[in-house]
């Protein structure tokens, strides 16, 4: 595709400008990817690619989303020739509607440190004996951000971001760009960005960008 850039920020000046599919298919360990979509089909397309490739590489994959989204991902997994039932039964694939895999507290408590610890503990069961690493996809935390619960969303993203350096996992967080408004979300948006390693924006060029390649400055 032909870049339309001119001025001081031509594509060559961006770090790691590449197609988003490559990053989602094979994220580096420790990647904490922020996916902002404006088309719900793109959300499912990215999530499915992430999940299917993870399953093919025998990684443990966990998805946290709504019933509709989980059903769409599951269908794509099946269409890719994988046995979703078996993957779920074996524990290689978890499709859950909330972070607490055991059906515990919802909403506010869902993003608490305790809930996250419990979630991580469950997710990393069998790592590294059975699975080399973990992939996690989710969009639940984005709902807090969209609804103005910035402290909840940011606390969770920060916890994940801190632990990405010590745990063998990669994370793909989906945010609905249609719910972002400059007036409401702009100020807190910087904190979302600084707690992720890559950005897949909704732009028509279909790129992925590395965030803060030279480090975060306060």
């Amino acid at each position: 595709m032909e870049p339309a850039w001119s001025g001081p920020h031509a594509p060559g000046h961006f770090s790691a400008l590449q197609g988003w599919q490559g990053l989602v298919r094979e994220p580096p360990v420790g990647a904490h990817i922020l996916h902002i979509y404006e088309d719900p089909d793109r959300e499912i397309e990215a999530a499915s690619l992430f999940v299917i490739e993870g399953a093919r590489r025998a990684e443990r994959v966990c998805c946290v989303g709504s019933t509709r989204e989980l059903a769409s991902i599951r269908r794509r997994v099946e269409e890719a020739g994988l046995d979703a039932d078996r993957l779920v039964r074996d524990g290689a694939l978890a499709l859950v509607r909330q972070l607490d895999l055991n059906g515990g507290p919802k909403d506010d408590d869902e993003t608490s440190r305790t809930a996250l610890d419990r979630f991580i503990h469950a997710m990393f069961r069998g790592v590294p004996e059975r699975y080399p690493s973990v992939r996690w996809w989710g969009n639940r935390v984005a709902r807090f951000f969209e609804n103005g619960r910035f402290d909840r969303a940011l606390a969770f993203e920060q916890l994940c971001h801190e632990r990405r350096e010590v745990l063998p996992w990669s994370l793909l967080c989906a945010y609905d760009g249609r719910k972002l408004s400059p007036e409401r979300h702009a100020a807190a948006f910087w904190d979302v960005l600084r707690n992720h390693s890559h950005l897949i924006p909704a732009g028509e060029l279909g790129v992925a960008l590395e965030l803060f390649p030279t480090g975060v400055h306060e």
Binding site: G7, F14, I36, L180, F189, W190, L193, T214
Partner: protein, 65 residues
């Protein structure tokens, strides 16, 4: 006589900014780009900092190597 040079300069500057933002919206998507624009306005303050300079500074920190 009315001096229109200043007005023309301003229109030209605005057009350049708009073209710049349209290009950014192609890469980032309209809503992300608009949110980022607001983010940079909130984050990068300073007297005499133009919109263009603010965006350049923010993008450099965010993406550029």
């Amino acid at each position: 006589m009315i001096d229109v040079r200043e007005a023309l300069d301003e229109i030209q500057a605005r057009s350049a900014d708009e073209a710049y933002w349209r290009a950014l919206e192609r890469v980032l998507g309209t809503l992300t780009a608009r949110t980022l624009r607001g983010t940079f306005r909130a984050k990068i303050k300073g007297d005499g900092t133009s919109e263009r300079e603010r965006v350049a500074q923010g993008l450099t920190e965010l993406f550029a190597s």
